[in-house]
């Protein structure tokens, strides 16, 4: 027996309880398979389609796996102490074999995950996939809420990871970020104190962010993620299935001979109850193994390839060590918070002698309102079952337009904050060069 064959049989022994000989057996096997138990036995062609879901949820999950694998390796090499954090990251970048690739992959995958989770939410909204269709026991609005929490967790994971290199970029992004938190009314100041474990960004803050980043938030994420996946199954699969169910045509089944017993003996007739119509559901679905499994593996490979390729091109930056006395000019939050930084800059309003800090409006009030709106929306949306699982359903035209407008504003503000803000937060065109700024007092 050659090596591949023996490896294959070993893999089978470990993951399958027996060797399926037919589609039906393979379907049964899915229930007993460790890796495939998320998959239904059969899956509709619509659910498989690239153009419906873009596999954004799958990509997000693959990115998460890459993050966990590279992250665990980085944990062996990183020391979360103020004295050593920067030096260990520098070591990872410049002396550890392949350290720079691992770090770059961790960073690229994190950035991409923020983007794909966001796009996944956009997809779900535009296809009306947070709505219950005709399936019994569905609670898609609940799963939408879980999804919003997962998006927030993704942002928090990325944000807590930002501080760990303990360089200037990290230090000032966290300064700006935690001061936004302290703009929350009443609890703001104590919230910042609790988050930082003190009044300054120091050792307490570093170890807190580290533990949040490597244990607390990932644990919560995995818990909610498994619930998210389980709910997808319980809600009847992707929302497009409900749409397909509406499209199903019925056709007359061939009459079945039946025996009718009468007093005179057996009369050869067809009985009424077997003159039935069948839906073409069976024709539109295929076994998950291998059809879905093949696509998921393909998406996994492509995602990994893209992350690796981007990591080879874009090295993770490492600036000078954190220095509380010198603020880089400009000082920017992570890119996915720059739309908020853009808003906190322009929303300080004075009414007479009373001034509202822009940090409160842009950092607390606006994101809070957006989150509450998102959580509440599935319960507000009363469009019918025809709007479930289709892109741009005419019935949902107006909500889709408003949603797209909000998303575009966020993207435009993010772009302006990222590419068009120079020293002292003044506007520059992306092709303009910034003036030289003295670094020291």
């Amino acid at each position: 027996m050659n090596v591949t064959a023996s490896l294959r049989s070993l893999y089978r022994k470990l993951t399958w309880t027996w060797n399926p000989q037919s589609d039906k057996e393979a379907g049964d096997a899915i229930v007993k398979n460790l890796l495939l138990h998320w998959f239904p036995n059969k899956i509709t062609k619509g659910s498989l389609s690239w153009g419906y879901s873009f596999y954004l949820g799958t990509i997000s999950f693959v990115l998460l796996v890459i993050l966990v694998v590279t992250g665990v390796i980085l944990m062996f090499l990183y020391v979360p102490s103020v004295e050593r954090a920067y030096a260990t990251v520098k070591d990872i970048e410049f002396t550890v074999s392949f350290g720079w690739v691992l770090r770059a992959m961790h960073r690229i995958a994190a950035h991409l995950m923020v983007a794909t989770v966001f796009l996944h939410m956009v997809r779900v909204f535009l296809t009306g996939a947070y709505k219950n269709g005709s399936s019994v026991g569905a609670a898609r609005p609940l799963n939408w809420i879980v999804g919003i929490v997962l998006l927030i967790l993704t942002l928090l994971l990325s944000f807590t990871g930002y501080l760990l290199p303990w360089d200037q970029l990290a230090y000032w992004a966290i300064t700006v970020g935690t001061n936004i938190a302290s703009a929350a009314p009443l609890v703001g100041k104590s919230l910042r104190f609790f988050l930082l474990g003190g009044s300054e960004i120091d050792q307490n803050a570093l170890i807190r962010f580290y533990v949040l980043h490597v244990v607390f938030l990932p644990g919560l994420l995995f818990l909610l993620f498994s619930y998210h996946m389980w709910r997808v199954r319980k809600d009847g699969g992707l929302a497009i299935v409900d749409h397909e169910a509406l499209q199903q045509t019925t056709e007359q089944a061939a009459p079945v001979k039946a025996k009718t017993y009468s007093l005179l003996g057996i009369t050869g007739q067809t009985s009424v109850h077997v003159r039935t119509a069948v839906v073409d559901e069976e024709k539109n679905s295929v076994p998950s193994a291998p059809n879905l499994a093949r696509r998921v593996w393909l998406v996994t490979l492509l995602t990994f390839a893209v992350v690796l390729a981007l990591s080879l091109v874009f090295r993770a930056p490492l600036e000078s060590p954190a220095n509380p006395s010198v603020t880089p000019n400009p000082a920017k939050a992570p890119w996915y918070f720059l739309w908020l930084q853009e808003i906190v800059t322009i929303t300080t309003v004075s009414i007479g002698s009373f001034t509202v800090n822009g940090a409160f409006v842009g950092g607390v009030l606006l994101p809070g309102v957006l989150i509450i709106l998102a959580l509440w929306w599935p319960f507000r949306d009363r469009t019918g079952v025809n709007a479930v699982g289709v892109w741009f359903a005419p019935e949902r035209r107006w909500q889709n337009r408003v949603f797209i407008a909000i998303c575009l504003l966020i993207i435009i503000f993010t772009f302006v904050g990222t590419f068009m803000r120079g020293p002292y937060w003044t506007l520059f065109w992306p092709w303009e060069s910034w003036p030289e700024m003295p670094v020291k007092f």
Partner: protein, 177 residues
């Protein structure tokens, strides 16, 4: 003793022994979870901070240079104008970035809260473009209030200047030595 006792398993309308014990158990579990959660939360609120003290000495008044001195690790500007001294925080009141001392090309004549003043320098924040006059009054950008002024004192034991970053003072504060 003729008290009507509840039948086993309840059902008399009054609280049966079983449901009372059940409720007691539930409350015990909730109290346990609550107590433990409080412990976990409280242990993460530091009782002792190993941060730099808020009151510290910065040398004798005569040793300080005329004009502005920036204490880097404290993010504090200390000013000496002849015999009077004052200190302004370098932390922007918007989101806490360190403001930069910016000398003006030529003195500016400004009106601060009804008072006409000539100023030779300003503070500019690199994060979101907030601007402050020489006395810390905010006039541009998102900063919601003036830079904080801190109390200065002369230490009675060795005559050094004593900064107290725990005590805020108003803009009229001057320490005259």
């Amino acid at each position: 003793m003729n008290k009507p006792s509840a039948a086993p398993g309840g059902g008399t309308g009054a609280t049966s022994r079983r449901s009372f014990v059940q409720r007691l158990g539930l409350m015990g579990i909730l109290a346990g979870i609550g107590g433990f959660s409080y412990q976990a939360f409280r242990s993460l609120v530091p009782n002792v901070l190993y941060e730099a003290p808020k009151r510290f000495k910065i040398g004798t008044p005569s040793a300080l240079a005329e004009g502005a001195t920036f204490l880097e690790d404290r993010r504090l500007y200390v000013f000496k104008e002849g015999k009077s001294f004052y200190a302004i925080s370098g932390a922007c009141t918007h989101l806490g970035c360190t403001v930069k001392y910016t000398k003006l090309q030529q003195a500016k004549h400004v009106d601060i809260g009804g008072q006409k003043k000539d100023i030779a320098f300003e503070f500019h924040c690199p994060c979101h473009g907030s601007k402050f006059y020489a006395d810390g009054t905010n006039y541009a950008g998102p900063a919601p209030r003036p830079l904080t002024w801190y109390k200065l004192d002369v230490s009675p034991d060795d005559g050094q200047l004593l900064v107290d970053m725990g005590t805020e003072v108003d803009q009229n504060f001057r320490l005259t030595v």
